[in-house]
Amino acid sequence: VSEPHDATVINLPVPNRAGPGSWPVDDWGRDAGLVRVAVRLGHLCWQVTVDGASHLPLRRGALLVVSGRRYTLAPIVTALALGESTGRAVRFVGRPDVAPFGPLLRRLGGLLDRPDEVLGALRASEVVVIGTGEQRLVAAAIETGTRIFPTRTTSAPWSRDAHVEISPAVRRWCGTLEGAP
């Protein structure tokens, strides 16, 4: 008779045989399976390198403010590339709320361009990418005490190479605004 002993059950990953559209979504509607497909398709057009991901917290939320003109794909490309390099669910702000593009971008991690939407994601310790034209959304990071990371994106129309560079956080939020009454 063998001695009783503690056993650990390991759940091995089961291959997902379901097709697109039936992959699981998270609390915000992001579809990790579709994101993987989008990243692979993106590799056909761009080769995105990410530097400075080590500045980001491992589990806590972060707000990345990327350079780039309005209506460019910089936040989306940054979110997808960063998600691939860190393994975290990275969300971007600025999806429309009109079918079919709105729901599609939601599956890729898109959030509406609303402070309360960003606030909810940061409160849940999510990583959120916004463009530089969205300063009013930064208030959400201040309210939740989330650190803000300036991020530079560079690309050229005649090259497949694109670069995302994350700088250290601008400051650690301590709960009160400096100079506030």
Binding site: A18, G21, S22, W23, P24, V25, D26, D27, W28, G29, D97, V98, A99, P100, G102, P103, R106, L111, L112, R114, D116, E117, G120, R123, A124
Partner: protein, 323 residues
Amino acid sequence: MAGRRVLVSGMGGDLGSRVASLLEAEPWVDELTGLDADPPRRRLHRASFHLVKPNEQERIVDLVTAFDPHVIVHLAVWEPFSRADPATARRLTDEAAVSFLGAAADCRSLEAIVVRSGTEVYGRARGAPSRPDESAALEPTCDYGRVLASLEQTADSIGRATGVPVAAIRMGTVLGPHVPSPLGRVLRMPAVPFSVLADPPFAVVEDIDVATAFVAAGKVRLAEPVNVLASGAITTLQAARRGRRLPIPLFGPEWTIATFLSGLLGAPVPDHIVELFHRGRLADNSRMPELLGFRPAASTVEVVDKLYAWPSVIHRPPRVVAA
């Protein structure tokens, strides 16, 4: 805290009788009574019950004021096409709100009111927050949402007038083996329609978790609204695939035909469920553990899996008594 009298309106429904059975086990509940137009759907040991229609206002006021409860749990809400058509559901819910909450104003010992509401109160207009928290504005865009928002408003005004804290449990769509849920009926049909252009995510909650939330809200004397939903989300297509149903992709105009056919087949689809199929329905439930001290046991995906695991109705021929 001990020795409290608790009144449950709508005790006859599945949710009401579940809440009552949980309240019976609470040490702080001394006396428990319930009122409804239907008798309770499960065996209760300590509770007393009064069979009363929502429009019998004078009788309800007499019963409620005679009991003089410390906590009122108001569950007398009819979801459209759950047990009544939308017009009847609206009328019954309004009558029950006037009768029960109006009677609450005359209860001297009253310490807390807990009302049933839903995430439909936030509305799903274009550009509305896709995952609203409790601070989001109430801008309902469906009939049921407007009824629930009006109910919350009535409860709030009575709470302000009497100085009693009011908690609104804004729950996601409730699914359970005995819950008459329009969404559950549609998802269990052999073929399930879904919006091919959007197929947005939604969250649900299991009936036992909602019942626990009501008991917790009454216990802690919650004085604010709280979203009660299971974690995670699912889309209609995913649900149909998990249940091995035939997904029917729809674009737009054919939804009218689909909902009509669904009604003919015994699963009428009210407008708040059509809205859920088109626009999704999520809400931020992050404050629930802090306010109520519990997390739902089952995730959205698990609740939907259970939905498909329930046995179907088996029709047996009547027994013939031997002469």
